[in-house]
Amino acid sequence: MTEHTYHLPEQSTRFDSGDELHLHAASENLGQLEAARALVKRTEAVLQERKAEAERTPQAEIIRLGREITEARQSRQAA
């Protein structure tokens, strides 16, 4: 995710209404960015949980054990 940094104009010493509008917009953008970050985190957690759930199914375990047996058999043949 891209980080956004907001700078006040370097030459400006005045703080006029235009600057205030920019700051307001920047603040809103940062808020949205934080919300997006939180959403991504929650989505990642849900996906991890679903992946773990899928790996716990009986069929996933049977496939894993079957693969281990097949590999052991093949390596015995290759020995």
Binding site: P58, Q59, E61, I62, L65, R67, T70, Q77, A79
Partner: protein, 141 residues
């Protein structure tokens, strides 16, 4: 070769060569010289014992054919003395275990039947890896 054909060949074999029926026990054999078919037959010697005593006159085989396929074979004589046999193929897919029997009967197994198959596979894995392939099995997995 189709999976079913391969399984049947493994189960019944060629009638020209029945020597494979007289294999000595695993401990007396040089496993390095065995073919895939012979190794599967040795596995089935273990697999057939996982479900308790085999009734007199029955022949049972249970083995892993490949990572996604398990075979159950039962042979017996009916009350009229005729030889009968059933072959059940379990196709393990990501979304379930498909049970296929003769007569194109297909169904996904669930509940106790699925749990029993899982239990049998765990026992088969543990015994085969330890006794045949002499590998350590992690009891937590």
């Amino acid at each position: 070769m189709s999976v079913l054909r391969k399984a049947l060949t493994l189960l019944v074999g060629s009638t020209d060569d029945l020597s494979y029926l007289k294999m000595p026990k695993a401990g007396n054999r040089n496993l390095k010289s065995l073919t895939e078919r012979e190794l599967i037959q040795l596995e089935s010697e273990i697999g057939r014992e996982l479900f308790g005593p085999i009734p007199k006159g029955h022949r049972r085989e249970f083995f892993n054919l490949d990572p996604h396929t398990w075979i159950w074979y039962e042979e017996y004589h009916d009350k009229d003395g005729r030889q009968r046999s059933t072959t059940t193929r379990y196709e393990v897919q990501e979304h379930g275990v498909l049970k296929a029997q003769e007569g194109a009967r297909y169904s996904y197994i669930e509940g106790a039947e699925l749990q029993n198959l899982l239990l049998a596979v765990r026992m088969y894995h543990e015994r085969v890896m330890r006794d045949l392939y002499t590998r350590e099995v992690d009891p937590t997995t």
